[in-house]
Amino acid sequence: MSDTENQIRDAISQAISEHEVILFMKGTPDAPACGFSARTVAALQALEAPFAAVDILPDPRIREELSAISQWPTIPQLFVGGELVGGCDIVMEMYESGELAQTLGVEDRAESHQNAPLL
């Protein structure tokens, strides 16, 4: 591993430990560059949960190093309290069951998620 890759890996680990809720995504919350990232952002925003976001697109090494740390191959990846919660599928399942609100420690705002699809 080169020094640069080491630095990227350290920076990712630091970001994960410094932010209670952090989402690694394609694009930004205002301009997601992929439907899976867009849905995950929409779930967090629907719960009005504050989160940090990192766009992985500017440098392919960010994704490589992130996946090496998390042992998770796809983007987005949501971390809460330093732990990987999951990608889009798991986050959406947890949003619909109310589990996501619980994990994030926020009020579950939607009465029936099934009747109110996000996107």
Binding site: F36, P73, D89
Partner: protein, 90 residues
């Protein structure tokens, strides 16, 4: 050479189903080509091997079947996993 060829190969929904069922003992998989483009798939996998594992671990078991093909020829593999006993998200 072989690994290069496997990265260029685009699997079908049927092939993905067979590979999941072959790799995870007792697994039943339903796989659909989500967009019709042959690179975004959606799979529902039921396996006794998932019992007692977190959702993250369940999804990892399925992702491991495809290794670096995920994000390569398979752009996306959307997963829903369950063990036969629970049959619904806990």
């Amino acid at each position: 050479m072989e690994s290069v060829l496997s990265l260029l190969h685009m699997p079908t929904a049927e092939e993905i189903k067979q590979r999941i069922e072959a790799a995870i003992p007792g697994a039943r998989a339903e796989v659909e080509d989500w967009t019709g483009g042959g690179d975004h798939f959606k799979a529902t996998v039921t396996a006794a091997a998932f019992a007692g594992r977190s959702r993250i671990e369940q999804h990892r078991l399925v992702y491991e079947v495809f290794g670096t093909e995920i994000g390569g020829p398979i752009h996306a593999l959307s997963l829903k996993t369950q063990s036969p006993q629970t049959h619904s998200p806990q």
